[in-house]
């Protein structure tokens, strides 16, 4: 029985499988809590996109950095932010990763190298360029992946950032999670080209298209880009084809797409199911191990909810703290 796929050992493979499941369960749990009125504001679920978040970040070392997106819960989990602190943040609690002040759309964790989700599309790509510039100027060796959507790819700031990264040969990877829609805008209506990765040519960097439902392919292609960046050869644009299963945000009747299309992605291109099948086929995972992993996921989520619910609300006195350093 082989316990390896390519150069990945069993531990790493099962860790990837655990993370993908943790993300899915986290999202399902918060959707439920939101419906029950326990959570406030808005949230953007990444169910269906677990392969891109986990695959890309699995190619990084702990000291590498990312910039995240409004649909960033999966990215935070993959970068290993403590999910208790994430959950508490969504509950708006004082123990939250941002003390209850940021909420879902601004999840950040500088300690693990997550420079933040962003409420402003296109802003994070410029931050990534700057973070990569720091790495280069101070010879720190880390690389940065900046995540953005197909919709955000049409922001001027994204284009300016790619050009900057290219001319300065910075260690940054522009990772486009093309989930086919920017809110209601189909990528087919909002860009005139077939692949967003084709734009790489215009900036003088390599562009790759990957199947976002294949977590190992995502990881492999990202690894190549990371290697290139670490060697000082500059940025890469990666476009992963993926799908968001849920509406854009908390409530959305999804009038802009068909249920046939949804069904195809959900039934045939579920990144978790595909990876599971591969692991079983290749003898890396058996039923008993799977049960243990799913149990661990369940416990982690239950623990996070309990932690969040038991945590105190922030005090009114904290309102004016942290405006300035």
């Amino acid at each position: 029985m082989s316990t390896q796929i390519g150069n990945l050992d069993q531990d790493k493979l099962l860790q990837i499988y655990y993370q993908m499941n943790l993300i899915r369960e986290f999202e399902m749990e918060i959707e439920k809590q939101f419906m029950r009125g326990k959570l406030y504001g808005t949230m953007h679920l990444c169910i269906g996109q677990e392969g891109t978040a986990v695959g890309a970040i699995a190619a990084l070392e702990p000291e590498d950095k990312i910039t995240s997106t409004h649909r960033g819960h999966g990215l935070s989990i993959a970068k290993e932010t403590d999910i208790n602190l994430m959950m508490a943040e969504l509950y708006g609690k004082a123990t939250g990763i941002s003390k209850g002040k940021g909420g879902s759309m601004h999840l950040a964790d500088l300690d693990v190298g997550n420079l933040g989700a962003n409420g402003i599309l296109g802003a994070g790509q410029a931050h990534a360029v700057g973070a990569a510039l720091t790495s280069k100027m101070r010879d720190l060796g880390y690389v940065v992946i900046t995540f953005f959507g197909d919709g955000a790819s049409n922001e001027g700031a994204v284009h300016e950032s790619m050009n900057l990264a290219a001319v300065w040969e910075l260690p940054v990877i522009f990772f486009c999670e093309n989930n086919q829609y920017g809110m209601s805008g189909s990528v087919k209506d909002m860009t005139k080209i077939e692949n967003i990765a084709d734009r790489a040519v215009a900036y003088g960097m390599p562009g790759h298209i990957v199947n976002g439902s294949d977590v190992l392919e995502v990881m492999k292609v990202t690894q190549q880009a990371v290697e290139r960046a670490r060697k000082g050869e500059g940025p890469t644009l990666i476009e992963a084809k993926t799908y968001r299963w849920k509406g854009h945000s908390k409530s959305d009747p999804k009038k802009y797409r068909t249920s046939d299309e949804e069904k195809e992605w959900i039934d045939e291109r579920d990144p978790i199911v595909l990876f599971r099948n591969k692991l079983i086929e290749d003898g890396v995972l058996n039923e008993e191990q799977e049960k243990k992993i799913l149990q661990k996921v369940k416990k982690a989520i239950e623990g996070a909810v309990e932690f969040a619910e038991d945590s105190p609300e922030p005090s009114i006195e904290s309102l004016e703290e942290d405006v300035y350093a």
Binding site: Y40, G41, T42, E89, G92, K93, S98, G100, K101, G102, G103, M105, H106, N118, G119, I120, L121, G122, G151, A152, N154, E155, G156, G182, M183, S184, G185, D189, M190, T191, D252, K255, Y256, E313, P314, I316, S318, L319, E320, V323
Partner: protein
């Protein structure tokens, strides 16, 4: 009279205008089948089609600039910016371009566009989706700035904005969208630069904008029961500002409280207070002018913190009392 919501009043105003004037069209993100982030354009694509209800890519500086170019060549675009916080992505086109073209070109050309955008806190959208930035724009010569507080005003002011030959920034408070009120079915116009006395009173003038008009009216009812009579004035447009109505009221009451949701420091309330004290109303003042506004912080996510970051009814009552019991 029939009652409709603030949101419906805005949609009706645009639809009526679009039926009359083929030069008017709408541009913005998700305004087509999605109906806009807050449902304001719901169903309009069915009546007017994709050409005139134009879904844009997520490219705010690009399509706002396109609206400027289209307006100066004869069209009358309405741009919807999904959240007013994203105005900051469009700001060069608004401030350096739309506002200044006619002046720079020696009085030639005009930029008749309306930029509609939801602002304000109260829904848990946190720091980058909850701001009130009207004072930034009211600082810019060449722009006009509108902030309706009722469905009736929204419909009439939007009509005037669409008839304007200048660029108008039209702020729609998110928490007002669901508010119902009496609105005539036919189109009508409320001139920009004309304040409205929302409630008459004797003891103190409250000058409030947007959602703070509603909170001030609530405060006024409670204060009435304690024997304090409040006059509530809604300027409705910050630029142009109806100074006369404000000054006349303060001359009558001798006291003024200015209330807005935007951060107090550097907010438009400072301008209103200065207008009062530079006028003949100064001689009638029995107490210093009181300003109420948002705390000097970004809007936080937690609902209790969020509520505590901008004036609520109780704060307005307290502010009025501080003014009344002084002297």
């Amino acid at each position: 009279m029939r009652e409709i919501t603030f949101q419906q009043a805005i949609r009706e105003s645009m639809s009526q205008e679009m039926r009359e004037n083929e030069l008017v069209y709408l541009m913005g993100e998700d305004i087509g089948v999605y109906g806009g982030a807050f449902g304001v354009t719901n169903g309009m694509i069915g009546e007017f089609g994709k050409e005139r209800i134009r879904d844009t890519p997520i490219s705010e500086i690009g399509f706002t600039g396109a609206a400027v170019g289209s307006a100066i060549t004869g069209m009358r675009p309405i741009v919807e910016i999904q959240f007013s916080d994203f105005l900051l992505v469009t700001i060069d086109q608004l401030v350096n371009q739309a506002a200044k073209m006619r002046y720079m070109f020696g009085g030639k050309g005009k930029v008749p566009m309306v930029l509609r955008t939801p602002n304000g806190s109260g829904l848990g959208f946190a720091a980058q989706h909850s701001q009130s930035l009207e004072a930034w724009l009211a600082h810019i010569p060449g722009l006009k700035v509108v902030q309706p507080s009722t469905p009736y005003d929204a419909k009439g002011l939007l009509k005037a904005a669409m008839d304007e030959d200048n660029t108008v920034v039209f702020f729609e408070h998110k928490m007002l969208y669901g508010m119902k009120g009496e609105v005539p079915e036919e189109a009508y116009s409320i001139p920009l630069g004309k304040a409205d006395v929302k409630r008459e009173g004797q003891d103190v003038t409250i000058i409030a904008t947007s959602i703070m008009v509603q909170r001030s009216l609530e405060a006024a009812v409670q204060l009435e029961s304690e024997g304090i009579s409040c006059e509530v004035i809604d300027p409705r447009t910050l630029l142009p500002l109806d100074e006369e109505t404000i000054i006349e009221s303060v001359k009558k009451t001798g006291r003024a409280v200015v209330v807005h949701e935007a951060v107090k420091r550097g907010g438009f309330g400072g301008e209103i207070a200065s207008v009062i004290q530079e006028s003949e109303a100064f001689d009638y003042l029995d107490a210093p002018i009181q300003r109420l506004g948002g705390r000097f912080i970004p809007i936080p996510y937690n609902p209790e913190l969020e509520k505590n970051s901008v004036p609520q009814v109780a704060d307005i009552i307290e502010g009025v009392k501080a003014t009344i019991y002084r002297s």
